[in-house]
Amino acid sequence: MQPNKHNNNPRYLRIRVALGAGLLLLLSGDLILTSHSPVHNMPQFGIYMLVTLAGTAAVLGVTFIMGKLLRRREDYYAQH
C-alpha cells in the first residue's frame, strides 16, 4: 500500500463530493424509474448499488487475506 498525499487536497475533496452526489442522483433515479425487483425475493430499491457495494467490499477483503497468505518475493520461483 502507498501513502496518499492527496487525501486532504481540496480538489480531491471536490471530486469525492461530486462522486457522492452522482451516486445519490442514481439512487434517486432508481427509486423513480425502477418498477420491479430484477430477481424474485429481492428488494426493488437500490439493489444494484447494495450488491455492488457489499460484493466489492467482500472481494477486496478476500484479496487482502489472499495477499497476506500467498504473496512471495518476485524471485520466489527462481530461488526454488
Binding site: 502507498q2 462522486l19 433515479g29 425502477t34 444494484y48 450488491v51 466489492t56 500467498l70
Partner: protein, 591 residues
C-alpha cells in the same frame, strides 16, 4: 467431394498458409496477413450450408459443417487474426506469424467442423501452434512458461482423447453436438475441454504463459484457446450444472489474482480467466437467453481484449517493460491515441453504455434473473462490477495514468520518460484503432449483432431502467476504486498459485523420489555385496587352503571318524528299522 473442395475449408486454408508463410518474401507475407482473413470472412458467409467430408483410416471426417454458433465464432476469430496480424507486422517474426495462422486456422477449424475426431485433430494442432507462439515471445521465461503451457495442454488433450475413445467404444455417434449420456466418456471430454478453458485447478496457465509471449503473440493467444473451449462447451455441454460453480470460481479467482498483480499484461491475463468464468456460468445455466449471452459476450470479449492487449503490447514495445512499478508516470501524455483506444477497450470491458460489453453482459444478467437464480445473479453482478478493479479502471490507471510511486515522488515529470516513447505508427495504430472502433460499433448498433446469435430472443439493452442499473453498478465500483486506488498499488512480488505444485512440489517430489531411489539402490547393493562377500568368506573358510574341509587328515583320525559313522549308522538303523533288528536277534538267540 472433389479433391479441391478441401481448399474451401477456411481452417485448412489458414493452416496451409501458415506452413508456407515463413518461406514467402516479406511483401507477400504482409499481403497475406492483410488480405487473407477478410477474404475468408466473406467466404464463410457465402459458402452455404453444404458439408465437406474426407475419408481417412476408415473414418469419415466432417471438415466443414457450418452452424450459426460456429459462423459467429469463426467470424470473430478471423477478425482477431486480422487485427492481431496487422498489429504483429511491426516486429513479429515470420515464424510467429506462421504459427498464428496455424493457430487461428485450428480454432476456426474447430468452430466449423462436424465431428469429434476432426475437432481433436484441430485441438492438438492448436495446442502445438500456440506453444510455438509462446516460445517466440523472446521474454525472460518464454521457454519455461511455454513448456508448462504445453504440458498442461497435452494433459488436456489426453483427457479429451480418452473421452473420445470411450465415446467411440460405446458405439455413440461421433458427430459434434450435444452429448447425451453422462458416462465416463462425457466427464473425460468435459475435463479435457475445461483444461483449455482455464478451469481450476489449471487456471494458472493463462497468466503464466500469455504474458511471456510477444506483444502481438498475446493478442493471438487471448483470442483463440479459451474461446474455442467456450464454443465447444456451448455446443456440447449447454446446461451442464457443474459449469456453474466452476465458472463462479474462475470469475472470482481472476478478480482476486488480478488485484494482487503488478504486471499489466498479467492483470489482463487474469481478466481473461474472470470473463471466461462469467461465460461458463452462462453456459451452465443453459437457458436460451444465457446461451445467447455467452455467445455474444465471448465475441465481445475477444474484441475488447484485443484492444487492451494491443495497448499493453505498445507499452511493452516502447518501454521494454509491463511492470507497473517500472512504467514511469503519466504515460498518457506521450501516447494520447493509445490512451484513447485503451480507454475505449476498458470502457467496453466494464460494460459502459454504448460499448460492446454493455449489450452482451446485459443479455447474460437478464437471462440469469429470468432463470430465477438469485444467488448466481448476485455473484455475477459482483463479478461484472469487479471488472473495474482489473481490466476496467485499474489496468489503464496503472499503465497510463498512475504516478511513479517506487521513486517516492508522485506526479513524476513526464520528462523522465524518453522522448522516443510515443504512439505507434502505421499498421499497429490502425489495428488498435480498428478494434476499438468495432467495440463502439457493436455497442451503438446492437441489433445486427443480436441477429447473429443462434437462439431466438429479443433484447433491448437501451431502456432507461437498464441504463440506470448499469450506471449504479459502475458508479459504486468506480467510486470505490477512485477512493482506494492508492491502497491497491501493487508491490513487486509473485502470488502463489496451483502452478506451485507443478513448479515446486512436483519438482521437489521428483528429486525426493530420485534420492529415495538412489538410497534404496545403495542399500540393496551394499546388502547384496555384503552377503555375497560373507558367503564367499564362509566357503573360503571351509574349502580354502586352510579350510577345515580341505585339510589332509591323519589315517588314524579318519579310521576313528569312519568307526563313529558306522556306529551311528547302526544306532539309527536300530531305531528306524526294528523289524530287521529283530530278525538279527532271532538269528543269534539260542533256541
Amino acid at each position: 467431394m472433389r479433391s479441391t473442395d478441401i481448399f474451401l475449408v477456411p481452417g485448412v486454408v489458414l493452416i496451409l498458409t501458415g506452413l508456407v508463410l515463413q518461406l514467402m518474401p516479406a511483401w507477400l507475407r504482409r499481403t497475406s496477413v492483410v488480405v487473407l482473413p477478410p477474404l475468408l470472412l466473406v467466404h464463410i458467409w457465402n459458402m452455404g450450408a453444404a458439408d465437406i467430408h474426407i475419408h481417412w483410416l476408415e473414418f469419415q471426417l466432417t471438415l466443414l459443417r457450418p452452424g450459426s454458433s460456429g459462423l459467429l465464432f469463426a467470424s470473430v476469430f478471423l477478425i482477431a487474426l486480422w487485427g492481431g496480424g496487422i498489429f504483429a507486422l511491426q516486429d513479429a517474426s515470420a515464424r510467429e506469424l506462421g504459427a498464428a495462422f496455424i493457430y487461428a486456422g485450428s480454432a476456426i477449424g474447430i468452430s466449423l467442423c462436424g465431428d469429434w475426431l476432426t475437432l481433436f485433430c484441430f485441438w492438438e494442432l492448436m495446442a502445438l501452434s500456440s506453444t510455438l507462439i509462446v516460445w517466440c515471445g523472446g521474454q525472460k521465461y518464454s521457454h519455461s512458461a511455454g513448456m508448462r503451457y504445453l504440458l498442461v495442454h497435452l494433459a488436456g488433450g489426453v483427457l479429451l482423447l480418452a473421452g473420445l475413445s470411450a465415446l467411440a467404444a460405446t458405439g455413440a455417434s461421433m458427430e459434434f453436438g450435444p452429448l447425451d449420456s453422462k458416462g465416463y466418456a462425457y466427464w473425460l471430454i468435459l475435463a479435457g475441454i475445461l483444461v483449455n478453458a482455464g478451469a481450476p485447478p489449471f487456471s494458472f496457465w493463462i497468466a503464466d504463459a500469455y504474458p511471456q509471449a510477444s506483444p502481438s503473440g498475446m493478442v493471438f493467444l487471448s483470442a483463440f484457446t479459451t474461446k474455442t473451449a467456450v464454443f465447444v462447451l456451448l455446443i456440447a455441454f449447454a446446461g451442464e450444472s457443474v459449469l456453474i460453480p466452476v465458472g463462479i470460481f474462475m470469475a472470482f479467482y481472476g478478480i482476486v489474482y488480478a488485484l494482487l498483480e503488478h504486471d499489466i499484461r498479467r492483470i489482463l491475463a487474469y481478466s481473461i480467466v474472470n470473463q471466461v468464468g462469467f461465460m461458463l456460468v452462462a453456459v451452465g445455466v443453459g437457458t436460451s437467453a444465457t446461451l445467447n449471452g455467452a455467445h455474444a459476450h465471448a465475441a465481445a470479449h475477444i474484441l475488447y481484449k484485443m484492444t487492451l492487449l494491443m495497448g499493453a503490447g505498445t507499452i511493452l514495445r516502447q518501454l521494454g517493460s509491463t511492470s507497473a512499478s517500472t512504467l514511469g508516470g503519466h504515460l498518457w501524455r506521450h501516447m494520447p491515441k493509445t490512451t484513447l483506444c485503451v480507454g475505449i477497450g476498458a470502457a467496453a470491458s466494464m460494460g459502459v453504455p454504448f460499448t460492446s460489453s454493455f449489450i452482451t453482459k446485459s443479455v447474460v444478467l437478464t437471462g440469469l434473473a429470468d432463470a430465477d437464480m438469485p444467488l448466481i445473479w448476485v455473484l455475477m453482478l459482483i463479478c461484472s462490477a469487479a471488472v473495474v478493479f482489473n481490466a476496467g479502471m485499474r489496468f489503464p490507471w496503472l499503465a497510463l495514468f498512475a504516478p511513479s510511486y517506487p521513486s517516492g515522488v508522485e506526479n513524476t515529470p513526464s520528462s523522465r520518460i524518453p522522448d522516443s516513447v510515443k504512439d505507434p505508427n502505421g499498421f499497429a495504430m490502425g489495428a488498435m484503432a480498428a478494434s476499438a472502433l468495432i467495440c463502439l460499433v457493436v455497442g451503438w448498433v446492437p441489433d445486427w449483432f443480436y441477429a447473429l446469435l443462434p437462439y431466438p430472443g429479443s433484447y433491448h439493452p437501451y431502456t432507461a431502467g437498464h441504463l440506470l442499473e448499469q450506471m449504479q453498478v459502475l458508479g459504486v465500483a468506480g467510486s470505490i476504486f477512485w477512493v482506494t486506488r492508492h491502497y491497491f498499488y501493487p508491490q513487486q512480488g509473485t502470488t502463489l498459485d496451483t502452478d506451485w505444485f507443478l513448479r515446486i512440489a512436483l519438482f521437489k517430489g521428483w528429486n525426493r523420489f530420485l534420492q529415495l531411489l538412489g538410497f534404496t539402490y545403495n542399500r540393496a547393493s551394499r546388502m547384496l555385496t555384503n552377503s555375497s562377500v560373507r558367503s564367499h568368506m564362509l566357503i573360503f573358510s571351509l574349502h580354502g587352503p586352510r579350510g577345515i574341509l580341505a585339510r589332509s587328515w591323519h589315517t588314524g583320525s579318519i579310521a576313528l571318524w569312519v568307526a563313529l559313522m558306522l556306529a551311528s549308522y547302526i544306532l539309527v538303523y536300530n531305531f528306524s528299522a526294528p523289524s530287521a533288528f529283530n530278525i538279527l536277534r532271532r538269528f543269534f538267540s539260542p533256541g
